[in-house]
Protein backbone atom coordinates (compact mmCIF):
# COMPACT_ATOMS: atom_id res chain seq x y z
CA UNK A 1 0.00 0.00 0.00
CA UNK A 2 1.25 3.39 -0.92
CA UNK A 3 -0.44 5.48 1.77
CA UNK A 4 1.88 4.37 4.58
CA UNK A 5 4.89 6.30 3.41
CA UNK A 6 3.04 9.56 2.99
CA UNK A 7 1.19 9.46 6.28
CA UNK A 8 4.21 9.09 8.52
CA UNK A 9 5.67 12.34 7.28
CA UNK A 10 2.51 14.41 7.68
CA UNK A 11 2.17 15.48 11.24
CA UNK A 12 0.65 18.87 10.49
CA UNK A 13 -0.96 17.70 7.32
CA UNK A 14 -4.25 19.54 7.85
CA UNK A 15 -2.63 22.94 7.82
CA UNK A 16 -0.73 22.07 4.69
CA UNK A 17 -3.82 20.65 3.06
CA UNK A 18 -5.83 23.81 3.66
CA UNK A 19 -2.91 25.86 2.42
CA UNK A 20 -2.61 23.78 -0.73
CA UNK A 21 -6.31 24.11 -1.46
CA UNK A 22 -6.08 27.83 -0.86
CA UNK A 23 -3.18 28.15 -3.28
CA UNK A 24 -5.11 26.33 -5.97
CA UNK A 25 -7.71 29.13 -5.89
CA UNK A 26 -6.37 31.92 -8.09
CA UNK A 27 -8.64 34.62 -6.71
CA UNK A 28 -7.69 33.72 -3.16
CA UNK A 29 -4.02 33.95 -4.05
CA UNK A 30 -4.62 37.35 -5.61
CA UNK A 31 -6.40 38.45 -2.45
CA UNK A 32 -3.59 37.11 -0.32
CA UNK A 33 -0.92 38.96 -2.30
CA UNK A 34 -2.91 42.20 -2.20
CA UNK A 35 -3.43 41.80 1.52
CA UNK A 36 0.26 41.22 2.17
CA UNK A 37 1.13 44.31 0.12
CA UNK A 38 -1.42 46.41 2.02
CA UNK A 39 -0.16 45.22 5.38
CA UNK A 40 3.42 45.95 4.32
CA UNK A 41 2.40 49.43 3.19
CA UNK A 42 0.82 50.02 6.60
CA UNK A 43 3.92 48.83 8.43
CA UNK A 44 6.42 50.75 6.31
CA UNK A 45 4.29 53.83 5.76
CA UNK A 46 7.12 56.13 6.92
CA UNK A 47 9.49 54.64 4.38
CA UNK A 48 7.08 54.53 1.47
CA UNK A 49 5.37 57.90 1.81
CA UNK A 50 7.42 60.62 0.12
CA UNK A 51 6.00 63.35 2.37
CA UNK A 52 4.62 63.52 5.91
CA UNK A 53 0.84 63.25 5.77
CA UNK A 54 0.32 66.72 7.18
CA UNK A 55 3.00 68.50 5.11
CA UNK A 56 1.29 71.46 3.49
CA UNK A 57 2.70 73.10 0.41
CA UNK A 58 0.61 76.05 -0.67
CA UNK A 59 2.62 76.44 -3.84
CA UNK A 60 1.20 73.21 -5.19
CA UNK A 61 -2.48 72.89 -4.32
CA UNK A 62 -5.00 70.88 -6.38
CA UNK A 63 -2.33 69.26 -8.50
CA UNK A 64 -3.49 66.34 -10.58
CA UNK A 65 -1.51 63.10 -10.57
CA UNK A 66 2.03 63.74 -11.73
CA UNK A 67 5.49 62.30 -11.24
CA UNK A 68 6.12 64.14 -8.00
CA UNK A 69 2.66 63.52 -6.59
CA UNK A 70 1.43 60.23 -8.06
CA UNK A 71 -2.09 60.77 -6.69
CA UNK A 72 -1.96 64.56 -6.89
CA UNK A 73 -2.34 67.04 -4.05
CA UNK A 74 -5.32 68.42 -2.13
CA UNK A 75 -6.60 71.87 -1.25
CA UNK A 76 -3.77 72.37 1.25
CA UNK A 77 -1.16 71.10 -1.13
CA UNK A 78 -0.76 67.89 0.81
CA UNK A 79 0.46 64.85 -1.12
CA UNK A 80 -2.55 62.53 -1.50
CA UNK A 81 -0.36 59.48 -2.09
CA UNK A 82 1.36 59.97 1.26
CA UNK A 83 -1.95 60.50 2.97
CA UNK A 84 -3.41 57.35 1.44
CA UNK A 85 -0.32 55.40 2.52
CA UNK A 86 -0.61 56.67 6.09
CA UNK A 87 -4.36 56.08 5.89
CA UNK A 88 -3.66 52.37 5.36
CA UNK A 89 -2.08 52.30 8.76
CA UNK A 90 -5.02 54.07 10.38
CA UNK A 91 -7.73 52.03 8.69
CA UNK A 92 -6.05 48.71 9.32
CA UNK A 93 -5.43 49.61 12.93
CA UNK A 94 -9.05 50.60 13.53
CA UNK A 95 -10.33 47.57 11.70
CA UNK A 96 -8.05 45.02 13.35
CA UNK A 97 -8.38 46.35 16.87
CA UNK A 98 -12.14 46.72 16.73
CA UNK A 99 -12.44 43.33 15.14
CA UNK A 100 -10.18 41.69 17.70
CA UNK A 101 -12.33 43.18 20.44
CA UNK A 102 -15.62 42.08 18.95
CA UNK A 103 -14.22 38.66 18.04
CA UNK A 104 -12.99 38.08 21.57
CA UNK A 105 -16.24 39.09 23.20
CA UNK A 106 -18.37 37.47 20.51
CA UNK A 107 -16.51 34.16 20.69
CA UNK A 108 -16.70 33.91 24.44
CA UNK A 109 -20.34 34.94 24.63
CA UNK A 110 -21.34 32.81 21.65
CA UNK A 111 -19.47 29.75 22.89
CA UNK A 112 -21.03 30.07 26.33
CA UNK A 113 -24.50 30.40 24.82
CA UNK A 114 -23.98 27.45 22.51
CA UNK A 115 -22.26 25.14 24.94
CA UNK A 116 -24.34 25.63 28.06
CA UNK A 117 -27.67 26.39 26.42
CA UNK A 118 -30.71 26.90 28.60
CA UNK A 119 -31.40 30.19 30.29
CA UNK A 120 -27.93 31.69 29.67
CA UNK A 121 -28.34 30.99 25.98
CA UNK A 122 -31.80 32.51 25.97
CA UNK A 123 -30.62 35.72 27.64
CA UNK A 124 -27.60 36.13 25.40
CA UNK A 125 -29.59 35.45 22.26
CA UNK A 126 -32.39 37.86 23.19
CA UNK A 127 -29.75 40.49 23.77
CA UNK A 128 -28.30 39.77 20.33
CA UNK A 129 -31.79 40.04 18.85
CA UNK A 130 -32.13 43.49 20.35
CA UNK A 131 -28.73 44.59 19.08
CA UNK A 132 -29.51 43.21 15.65
CA UNK A 133 -32.88 44.91 15.49
CA UNK A 134 -30.91 48.09 14.93
CA UNK A 135 -29.16 48.03 11.55
CA UNK A 136 -25.44 47.70 12.17
CA UNK A 137 -24.34 50.97 10.62
CA UNK A 138 -27.10 52.83 12.45
CA UNK A 139 -25.97 51.15 15.65
CA UNK A 140 -22.39 52.19 15.06
CA UNK A 141 -23.52 55.73 14.28
CA UNK A 142 -25.55 56.03 17.43
CA UNK A 143 -22.80 54.57 19.63
CA UNK A 144 -20.27 56.90 18.02
CA UNK A 145 -22.63 59.81 18.57
CA UNK A 146 -22.97 58.85 22.21
CA UNK A 147 -19.25 58.63 22.75
CA UNK A 148 -18.50 61.68 20.69
CA UNK A 149 -16.34 62.01 17.56
CA UNK A 150 -12.87 60.49 17.48
CA UNK A 151 -11.17 57.43 16.06
CA UNK A 152 -11.01 55.55 19.37
CA UNK A 153 -14.70 56.05 19.83
CA UNK A 154 -15.36 54.96 16.27
CA UNK A 155 -13.33 51.87 16.99
CA UNK A 156 -15.40 51.10 20.08
CA UNK A 157 -18.61 51.73 18.17
CA UNK A 158 -17.58 49.32 15.41
CA UNK A 159 -16.48 46.71 17.92
CA UNK A 160 -19.72 46.81 19.89
CA UNK A 161 -21.92 46.73 16.82
CA UNK A 162 -20.05 43.69 15.47
CA UNK A 163 -20.35 41.56 18.60
CA UNK A 164 -23.81 40.07 17.90
CA UNK A 165 -22.78 38.85 14.45
CA UNK A 166 -19.81 37.06 15.90
CA UNK A 167 -21.73 35.66 18.82
CA UNK A 168 -24.30 34.18 16.46
CA UNK A 169 -21.79 32.54 14.16
CA UNK A 170 -19.87 31.07 17.08
CA UNK A 171 -23.01 29.91 18.82
CA UNK A 172 -24.31 28.19 15.71
CA UNK A 173 -21.04 26.36 15.11
CA UNK A 174 -20.74 25.46 18.77
CA UNK A 175 -24.19 23.93 18.66
CA UNK A 176 -23.27 21.83 15.63
CA UNK A 177 -19.98 20.68 17.09
CA UNK A 178 -21.48 20.01 20.52
CA UNK A 179 -23.82 17.41 19.05
CA UNK A 180 -20.99 15.50 17.41
CA UNK A 181 -20.27 12.09 18.82
CA UNK A 182 -16.64 12.92 19.53
CA UNK A 183 -17.68 15.39 22.19
CA UNK A 184 -19.67 12.66 23.86
CA UNK A 185 -16.68 10.38 23.45
CA UNK A 186 -14.55 12.96 25.25
CA UNK A 187 -17.05 12.98 28.09
CA UNK A 188 -16.98 9.21 28.18
CA UNK A 189 -13.24 9.13 28.80
CA UNK A 190 -13.59 11.66 31.60
CA UNK A 191 -12.44 14.93 30.03
CA UNK A 192 -13.32 18.03 32.04
CA UNK A 193 -15.63 20.64 30.56
CA UNK A 194 -12.74 23.07 30.19
CA UNK A 195 -10.71 20.47 28.32
CA UNK A 196 -13.65 19.63 26.07
CA UNK A 197 -14.10 23.27 25.13
CA UNK A 198 -10.40 23.77 24.59
CA UNK A 199 -9.46 20.59 22.74
CA UNK A 200 -12.70 19.47 21.10
CA UNK A 201 -15.02 22.41 20.55
CA UNK A 202 -12.63 25.26 19.90
CA UNK A 203 -10.40 23.66 17.23
CA UNK A 204 -13.50 22.59 15.36
CA UNK A 205 -15.22 25.97 15.32
CA UNK A 206 -12.03 27.77 14.44
CA UNK A 207 -12.66 27.58 10.71
CA UNK A 208 -15.91 29.58 10.65
CA UNK A 209 -14.45 32.04 13.16
CA UNK A 210 -11.44 32.69 10.94
CA UNK A 211 -13.65 33.19 7.90
CA UNK A 212 -16.01 35.48 9.77
CA UNK A 213 -13.07 37.45 11.12
CA UNK A 214 -11.48 37.91 7.71
CA UNK A 215 -14.71 39.15 6.18
CA UNK A 216 -15.36 41.15 9.36
CA UNK A 217 -12.15 43.15 8.96
CA UNK A 218 -13.40 44.25 5.55
CA UNK A 219 -16.75 45.34 6.95
CA UNK A 220 -14.97 47.15 9.77
CA UNK A 221 -12.90 49.13 7.28
CA UNK A 222 -16.06 50.23 5.47
CA UNK A 223 -17.80 51.07 8.73
CA UNK A 224 -14.83 53.11 9.91
CA UNK A 225 -14.68 54.97 6.63
CA UNK A 226 -18.41 55.65 6.74
CA UNK A 227 -18.24 56.98 10.29
CA UNK A 228 -15.38 59.24 9.33
CA UNK A 229 -17.26 60.31 6.24
CA UNK A 230 -20.15 61.38 8.45
CA UNK A 231 -17.77 63.40 10.59
CA UNK A 232 -17.64 60.98 13.49
CA UNK A 233 -13.93 60.39 13.11
CA UNK A 234 -10.94 62.59 13.62
CA UNK A 235 -10.64 65.31 10.95
CA UNK A 236 -6.94 65.79 11.66
CA UNK A 237 -5.68 62.36 10.64
CA UNK A 238 -5.65 61.08 7.05
CA UNK A 239 -8.47 58.56 7.42
CA UNK A 240 -9.73 57.46 3.99
CA UNK A 241 -13.37 58.18 4.70
CA UNK A 242 -12.52 61.60 6.11
CA UNK A 243 -10.41 62.35 3.04
CA UNK A 244 -13.31 61.54 0.74
CA UNK A 245 -15.61 63.63 2.90
CA UNK A 246 -13.28 66.61 2.87
CA UNK A 247 -12.86 66.40 -0.89
CA UNK A 248 -16.58 66.30 -1.64
CA UNK A 249 -16.91 69.97 -2.41
CA UNK A 250 -14.20 69.68 -5.07
CA UNK A 251 -15.85 66.83 -6.91
CA UNK A 252 -16.46 68.83 -10.06
CA UNK A 253 -12.95 70.05 -10.58
CA UNK A 254 -10.61 67.77 -8.70
CA UNK A 255 -12.13 64.25 -8.70
CA UNK A 256 -8.74 62.65 -8.05
CA UNK A 257 -9.05 63.83 -4.45
CA UNK A 258 -12.04 61.50 -4.03
CA UNK A 259 -11.01 58.70 -6.32
CA UNK A 260 -7.76 57.60 -4.72
CA UNK A 261 -8.78 57.26 -1.06
CA UNK A 262 -11.93 55.44 -2.19
CA UNK A 263 -9.91 53.08 -4.37
CA UNK A 264 -7.72 52.35 -1.38
CA UNK A 265 -10.78 51.38 0.67
CA UNK A 266 -12.10 49.24 -2.12
CA UNK A 267 -8.83 47.42 -2.73
CA UNK A 268 -8.22 46.61 0.91
CA UNK A 269 -11.77 45.37 1.45
CA UNK A 270 -11.65 43.45 -1.81
CA UNK A 271 -8.44 41.72 -0.84
CA UNK A 272 -9.97 40.66 2.45
CA UNK A 273 -13.12 39.40 0.77
CA UNK A 274 -11.17 37.46 -1.85
CA UNK A 275 -9.02 35.91 0.82
CA UNK A 276 -11.98 35.19 3.10
CA UNK A 277 -13.95 33.52 0.31
CA UNK A 278 -10.97 31.39 -0.60
CA UNK A 279 -10.45 30.48 3.01
CA UNK A 280 -14.06 29.46 3.40
CA UNK A 281 -13.82 27.13 0.42
CA UNK A 282 -10.49 25.73 1.55
CA UNK A 283 -11.79 25.03 5.04
CA UNK A 284 -15.08 23.57 3.87
CA UNK A 285 -15.08 19.89 4.78
CA UNK A 286 -17.62 19.21 2.07
CA UNK A 287 -14.99 19.85 -0.58
CA UNK A 288 -12.47 17.56 1.05
CA UNK A 289 -13.34 14.70 -1.23
Amino acid sequence: MSENIQIQARKRSQFIEVWRRLCRNRLAVLGMILLVVIVLVAIFADVIAPYPYDFQDYSSVFLGPCLQHPFGTDNFGRDIFSRVVYGTRISLRIAFISLAGSALVGCIVGAIAGFFGGIIDAIIMRFCDIMMAIPRMVMAISIATTLGPGLTNAMIAIAISSVPNFARVVRASTLTVKDQEYVEAAQSIGCSTARIIRKYIFPNILAPIIVQATLGVGTAIILAASLSFLGLGDPLVPEWGAMVSAARSYIRDYPHMIAFPGLAIMLSVLSLNLFGDGLRDALDPKLKK
Binding site: Q180, E184, A185, Q187, I189, R195, Y200, P203, N204
Partner: protein, 318 residues
Protein backbone atom coordinates in the same frame (compact mmCIF):
# COMPACT_ATOMS: atom_id res chain seq x y z
CA UNK B 1 -21.60 -15.87 38.59
CA UNK B 2 -20.97 -12.46 40.02
CA UNK B 3 -23.08 -9.60 38.78
CA UNK B 4 -21.12 -6.67 37.43
CA UNK B 5 -24.01 -4.41 36.51
CA UNK B 6 -27.38 -4.35 38.20
CA UNK B 7 -30.03 -2.08 36.78
CA UNK B 8 -33.09 -1.44 38.92
CA UNK B 9 -36.23 0.35 37.72
CA UNK B 10 -34.19 2.61 35.51
CA UNK B 11 -36.09 5.45 33.87
CA UNK B 12 -35.01 8.19 31.55
CA UNK B 13 -37.54 10.73 30.32
CA UNK B 14 -36.83 13.64 28.01
CA UNK B 15 -38.84 16.82 27.91
CA UNK B 16 -40.17 17.59 24.46
CA UNK B 17 -42.57 20.31 23.33
CA UNK B 18 -45.28 17.69 23.09
CA UNK B 19 -44.74 16.12 26.49
CA UNK B 20 -42.41 13.71 28.22
CA UNK B 21 -40.69 11.19 25.99
CA UNK B 22 -40.26 7.90 27.81
CA UNK B 23 -36.99 6.80 26.26
CA UNK B 24 -36.22 4.22 28.94
CA UNK B 25 -39.15 3.18 31.04
CA UNK B 26 -38.68 1.11 34.17
CA UNK B 27 -36.02 -1.37 33.12
CA UNK B 28 -34.45 -3.87 35.53
CA UNK B 29 -31.82 -6.43 34.59
CA UNK B 30 -28.33 -7.61 35.46
CA UNK B 31 -25.19 -8.32 33.50
CA UNK B 32 -22.67 -10.81 34.83
CA UNK B 33 -18.89 -10.68 34.60
CA UNK B 34 -17.49 -11.56 31.22
CA UNK B 35 -20.89 -11.76 29.57
CA UNK B 36 -22.29 -9.89 26.61
CA UNK B 37 -25.79 -8.56 26.82
CA UNK B 38 -27.16 -7.81 23.39
CA UNK B 39 -29.79 -5.08 23.25
CA UNK B 40 -31.94 -5.18 20.12
CA UNK B 41 -34.62 -2.85 18.88
CA UNK B 42 -35.58 -0.50 16.08
CA UNK B 43 -34.56 3.14 15.96
CA UNK B 44 -36.26 5.17 18.64
CA UNK B 45 -36.74 2.28 21.05
CA UNK B 46 -34.40 3.81 23.62
CA UNK B 47 -31.54 1.35 23.34
CA UNK B 48 -28.82 3.97 22.89
CA UNK B 49 -30.25 6.06 25.70
CA UNK B 50 -30.16 3.01 27.95
CA UNK B 51 -26.46 2.48 27.28
CA UNK B 52 -25.69 6.11 27.95
CA UNK B 53 -27.65 6.19 31.19
CA UNK B 54 -25.89 3.10 32.51
CA UNK B 55 -22.44 4.62 32.10
CA UNK B 56 -23.72 8.02 33.28
CA UNK B 57 -23.26 9.91 30.03
CA UNK B 58 -26.84 10.86 30.79
CA UNK B 59 -28.35 11.11 34.24
CA UNK B 60 -31.32 8.83 34.87
CA UNK B 61 -34.71 10.30 35.72
CA UNK B 62 -35.25 7.59 38.29
CA UNK B 63 -33.93 4.20 39.33
CA UNK B 64 -30.47 2.93 40.15
CA UNK B 65 -27.52 1.31 38.48
CA UNK B 66 -25.19 -0.73 40.66
CA UNK B 67 -21.66 -1.37 39.47
CA UNK B 68 -19.92 -4.10 41.46
CA UNK B 69 -22.63 -3.63 44.06
CA UNK B 70 -22.11 0.14 44.45
CA UNK B 71 -24.76 2.62 43.42
CA UNK B 72 -23.27 4.79 40.69
CA UNK B 73 -26.35 6.77 39.79
CA UNK B 74 -25.79 9.28 42.60
CA UNK B 75 -22.00 9.22 42.50
CA UNK B 76 -20.43 12.65 42.27
CA UNK B 77 -17.06 11.36 41.16
CA UNK B 78 -17.92 10.63 37.55
CA UNK B 79 -14.33 10.78 36.43
CA UNK B 80 -13.31 7.71 38.40
CA UNK B 81 -16.36 5.86 37.09
CA UNK B 82 -14.99 6.36 33.61
CA UNK B 83 -12.00 4.15 34.44
CA UNK B 84 -14.31 1.17 34.59
CA UNK B 85 -17.19 2.08 32.31
CA UNK B 86 -16.38 2.82 28.70
CA UNK B 87 -18.19 3.18 25.42
CA UNK B 88 -17.58 2.40 21.76
CA UNK B 89 -19.58 4.66 19.50
CA UNK B 90 -21.67 4.02 16.45
CA UNK B 91 -20.30 6.32 13.84
CA UNK B 92 -16.57 5.97 13.33
CA UNK B 93 -16.73 9.17 11.28
CA UNK B 94 -18.18 11.51 13.85
CA UNK B 95 -16.88 9.92 17.03
CA UNK B 96 -13.29 10.95 16.43
CA UNK B 97 -12.20 14.56 16.73
CA UNK B 98 -11.04 15.51 13.22
CA UNK B 99 -8.46 17.90 14.66
CA UNK B 100 -6.61 15.26 16.67
CA UNK B 101 -4.17 12.69 15.34
CA UNK B 102 -4.52 8.99 16.07
CA UNK B 103 -1.95 9.08 18.83
CA UNK B 104 -3.59 12.12 20.41
CA UNK B 105 -6.99 10.43 20.39
CA UNK B 106 -5.75 7.18 21.89
CA UNK B 107 -3.54 8.81 24.49
CA UNK B 108 -6.21 11.32 25.57
CA UNK B 109 -7.68 9.06 28.31
CA UNK B 110 -4.17 8.30 29.56
CA UNK B 111 -3.45 12.01 29.88
CA UNK B 112 -6.78 12.94 31.40
CA UNK B 113 -6.47 10.26 34.06
CA UNK B 114 -2.71 10.76 34.61
CA UNK B 115 -2.09 7.08 33.97
CA UNK B 116 1.36 7.47 32.51
CA UNK B 117 4.46 9.28 33.58
CA UNK B 118 6.22 11.16 30.85
CA UNK B 119 5.65 11.29 27.14
CA UNK B 120 7.80 8.24 26.46
CA UNK B 121 5.54 6.08 28.55
CA UNK B 122 2.45 7.54 26.89
CA UNK B 123 3.82 6.79 23.47
CA UNK B 124 4.78 3.26 24.45
CA UNK B 125 1.29 2.62 25.82
CA UNK B 126 -0.31 4.16 22.73
CA UNK B 127 1.70 1.92 20.45
CA UNK B 128 0.81 -1.06 22.58
CA UNK B 129 -2.90 -0.19 22.34
CA UNK B 130 -2.67 0.26 18.59
CA UNK B 131 -1.05 -3.13 18.37
CA UNK B 132 -3.82 -4.66 20.49
CA UNK B 133 -6.55 -3.43 18.15
CA UNK B 134 -4.57 -4.28 15.03
CA UNK B 135 -3.64 -0.79 13.87
CA UNK B 136 -0.26 -0.63 12.18
CA UNK B 137 2.04 1.76 14.03
CA UNK B 138 2.67 3.74 10.84
CA UNK B 139 -0.73 5.36 11.42
CA UNK B 140 0.34 6.89 14.72
CA UNK B 141 0.48 10.42 13.33
CA UNK B 142 -2.33 10.08 10.82
CA UNK B 143 -5.61 11.96 11.12
CA UNK B 144 -8.97 10.20 11.19
CA UNK B 145 -10.07 11.56 7.80
CA UNK B 146 -7.14 9.80 6.18
CA UNK B 147 -8.43 6.42 7.28
CA UNK B 148 -11.30 4.15 6.33
CA UNK B 149 -14.24 3.22 8.55
CA UNK B 150 -12.81 -0.03 9.85
CA UNK B 151 -9.55 1.55 10.97
CA UNK B 152 -11.40 4.45 12.54
CA UNK B 153 -13.51 2.06 14.53
CA UNK B 154 -10.30 0.40 15.71
CA UNK B 155 -9.15 3.79 16.98
CA UNK B 156 -12.42 4.15 18.88
CA UNK B 157 -11.91 0.73 20.42
CA UNK B 158 -8.32 1.54 21.40
CA UNK B 159 -9.52 4.72 23.08
CA UNK B 160 -12.07 2.74 25.09
CA UNK B 161 -9.43 0.15 26.05
CA UNK B 162 -6.88 2.70 27.20
CA UNK B 163 -8.36 2.90 30.69
CA UNK B 164 -8.59 -0.87 31.14
CA UNK B 165 -12.32 -0.71 31.79
CA UNK B 166 -14.37 -3.60 33.11
CA UNK B 167 -17.56 -2.79 31.27
CA UNK B 168 -17.94 -1.48 27.75
CA UNK B 169 -21.14 -0.26 26.13
CA UNK B 170 -20.92 -0.84 22.39
CA UNK B 171 -23.45 1.37 20.61
CA UNK B 172 -23.96 -0.12 17.15
CA UNK B 173 -20.20 -0.38 16.62
CA UNK B 174 -20.44 -2.15 13.27
CA UNK B 175 -23.60 -0.85 11.67
CA UNK B 176 -21.80 1.88 9.73
CA UNK B 177 -19.31 -0.60 8.28
CA UNK B 178 -19.33 -2.79 5.20
CA UNK B 179 -19.86 -6.52 5.70
CA UNK B 180 -16.27 -7.60 5.22
CA UNK B 181 -14.99 -4.90 7.60
CA UNK B 182 -17.80 -5.59 10.04
CA UNK B 183 -16.59 -9.15 10.46
CA UNK B 184 -13.06 -7.92 11.18
CA UNK B 185 -14.30 -5.65 13.97
CA UNK B 186 -16.62 -8.27 15.46
CA UNK B 187 -13.76 -10.76 15.63
CA UNK B 188 -11.53 -8.16 17.24
CA UNK B 189 -14.12 -7.43 19.88
CA UNK B 190 -14.56 -11.12 20.62
CA UNK B 191 -10.81 -11.67 20.90
CA UNK B 192 -10.49 -8.74 23.27
CA UNK B 193 -13.26 -10.06 25.44
CA UNK B 194 -11.59 -13.44 25.66
CA UNK B 195 -8.16 -12.11 26.46
CA UNK B 196 -9.12 -9.29 28.79
CA UNK B 197 -12.37 -10.49 30.28
CA UNK B 198 -14.48 -7.48 29.35
CA UNK B 199 -18.19 -7.35 29.93
CA UNK B 200 -20.09 -5.92 26.99
CA UNK B 201 -23.44 -4.40 26.47
CA UNK B 202 -23.89 -4.65 22.74
CA UNK B 203 -26.52 -2.35 21.30
CA UNK B 204 -27.64 -3.01 17.74
CA UNK B 205 -30.56 -3.33 15.39
CA UNK B 206 -28.94 -6.20 13.56
CA UNK B 207 -30.20 -9.52 14.92
CA UNK B 208 -27.65 -11.71 13.23
CA UNK B 209 -24.80 -9.67 14.67
CA UNK B 210 -26.32 -9.73 18.13
CA UNK B 211 -26.84 -13.46 18.01
CA UNK B 212 -23.27 -13.97 16.97
CA UNK B 213 -21.72 -11.98 19.78
CA UNK B 214 -24.10 -12.11 22.75
CA UNK B 215 -24.63 -14.47 25.63
CA UNK B 216 -27.98 -12.90 26.52
CA UNK B 217 -30.31 -10.82 24.41
CA UNK B 218 -32.81 -8.21 25.44
CA UNK B 219 -35.44 -6.95 23.00
CA UNK B 220 -36.68 -3.40 23.49
CA UNK B 221 -39.75 -1.71 22.15
CA UNK B 222 -40.61 1.96 22.82
CA UNK B 223 -38.53 2.22 25.97
CA UNK B 224 -39.70 -1.06 27.46
CA UNK B 225 -38.10 -4.47 27.62
CA UNK B 226 -40.36 -7.01 25.93
CA UNK B 227 -38.22 -10.11 26.08
CA UNK B 228 -34.92 -11.20 27.60
CA UNK B 229 -33.28 -14.60 27.51
CA UNK B 230 -30.07 -16.42 26.57
CA UNK B 231 -29.10 -15.71 22.96
CA UNK B 232 -29.73 -19.13 21.49
CA UNK B 233 -33.00 -19.47 23.31
CA UNK B 234 -34.35 -16.33 21.67
CA UNK B 235 -33.86 -17.79 18.22
CA UNK B 236 -35.09 -21.26 19.12
CA UNK B 237 -38.08 -20.26 21.18
CA UNK B 238 -39.19 -16.73 20.44
CA UNK B 239 -42.10 -15.89 22.71
CA UNK B 240 -43.02 -12.22 22.39
CA UNK B 241 -44.99 -11.30 19.25
CA UNK B 242 -42.71 -8.33 18.58
CA UNK B 243 -39.57 -10.44 18.76
CA UNK B 244 -41.20 -12.88 16.39
CA UNK B 245 -42.00 -10.17 13.91
CA UNK B 246 -38.50 -8.79 14.19
CA UNK B 247 -37.00 -12.21 13.50
CA UNK B 248 -39.32 -12.84 10.61
CA UNK B 249 -38.43 -9.51 9.04
CA UNK B 250 -34.72 -10.21 8.64
CA UNK B 251 -33.84 -11.05 5.07
CA UNK B 252 -31.60 -14.08 5.28
CA UNK B 253 -28.81 -14.74 2.83
CA UNK B 254 -29.90 -18.28 2.11
CA UNK B 255 -32.10 -19.59 -0.64
CA UNK B 256 -35.42 -20.84 0.59
CA UNK B 257 -38.58 -20.44 -1.32
CA UNK B 258 -41.00 -21.18 1.50
CA UNK B 259 -40.73 -17.88 3.30
CA UNK B 260 -44.01 -17.02 4.95
CA UNK B 261 -43.19 -13.73 6.55
CA UNK B 262 -45.77 -12.28 8.82
CA UNK B 263 -45.29 -8.61 8.22
CA UNK B 264 -45.77 -6.20 11.02
CA UNK B 265 -48.34 -3.51 10.45
CA UNK B 266 -47.58 0.17 10.88
CA UNK B 267 -44.48 1.82 12.17
CA UNK B 268 -42.83 2.60 15.44
CA UNK B 269 -43.92 5.92 16.96
CA UNK B 270 -42.15 7.89 19.63
CA UNK B 271 -43.18 7.12 23.21
CA UNK B 272 -44.32 10.60 24.17
CA UNK B 273 -46.70 10.49 27.13
CA UNK B 274 -47.60 6.85 26.46
CA UNK B 275 -50.99 5.64 27.56
CA UNK B 276 -51.17 2.65 29.88
CA UNK B 277 -51.32 -0.69 28.16
CA UNK B 278 -48.84 -2.67 26.14
CA UNK B 279 -46.93 -0.29 23.86
CA UNK B 280 -46.84 -2.87 21.13
CA UNK B 281 -50.59 -3.49 21.23
CA UNK B 282 -51.40 -1.15 18.34
CA UNK B 283 -49.28 -3.23 15.97
CA UNK B 284 -49.85 -6.62 17.53
CA UNK B 285 -52.02 -9.17 15.76
CA UNK B 286 -52.81 -10.90 19.03
CA UNK B 287 -53.77 -7.80 21.00
CA UNK B 288 -56.84 -8.25 23.18
CA UNK B 289 -58.73 -5.74 25.33
CA UNK B 290 -56.43 -6.31 28.30
CA UNK B 291 -53.43 -5.32 26.21
CA UNK B 292 -54.80 -1.79 25.79
CA UNK B 293 -55.60 -1.34 29.48
CA UNK B 294 -52.73 -2.56 31.53
CA UNK B 295 -48.98 -2.49 30.96
CA UNK B 296 -47.77 -6.09 31.06
CA UNK B 297 -45.10 -6.94 33.64
CA UNK B 298 -41.93 -8.75 32.79
CA UNK B 299 -42.38 -12.33 33.90
CA UNK B 300 -40.13 -15.36 33.91
CA UNK B 301 -42.18 -17.52 31.58
CA UNK B 302 -39.59 -20.23 31.20
CA UNK B 303 -36.43 -20.61 33.27
CA UNK B 304 -34.20 -17.65 32.40
CA UNK B 305 -36.63 -16.44 29.77
CA UNK B 306 -38.43 -13.21 30.60
CA UNK B 307 -41.34 -11.87 28.56
CA UNK B 308 -43.65 -8.88 29.01
CA UNK B 309 -46.87 -9.94 27.34
CA UNK B 310 -50.35 -10.59 28.70
CA UNK B 311 -51.06 -13.34 26.23
CA UNK B 312 -47.69 -15.03 26.02
CA UNK B 313 -49.04 -18.35 27.25
CA UNK B 314 -51.97 -18.46 24.85
CA UNK B 315 -49.94 -17.37 21.85
CA UNK B 316 -47.21 -19.92 22.41
CA UNK B 317 -49.38 -22.66 23.90
CA UNK B 318 -47.18 -22.89 26.94
Amino acid sequence: MEELIQVKNLKKYFDTPRGKLHAVDDLSFTISHGQTLGVVGESGCGKSTLGRVIIRLLDPTDGTVLFEGKDITRSKDIKSLRRNLQMIFQDPYSSLNPRMSVSEIISEPLIVHHLCRGSAEIEARTRQLMDTVGLASRFINAYPHEMDGGRRQRIGIARALALNPKFIVCDEPVSALDVSIQAQILNLMQDLQESMGFTYMFITHNLSVVKHISTDIMVMYLGMMVEKCPADELFERTLHPYSKALLAAIPEPTLKKDRQAKLLRGEIVSPIEPKPGCRFAARCEFAGPACFERTPDLEEVLPGHYVACHRVNEINQL
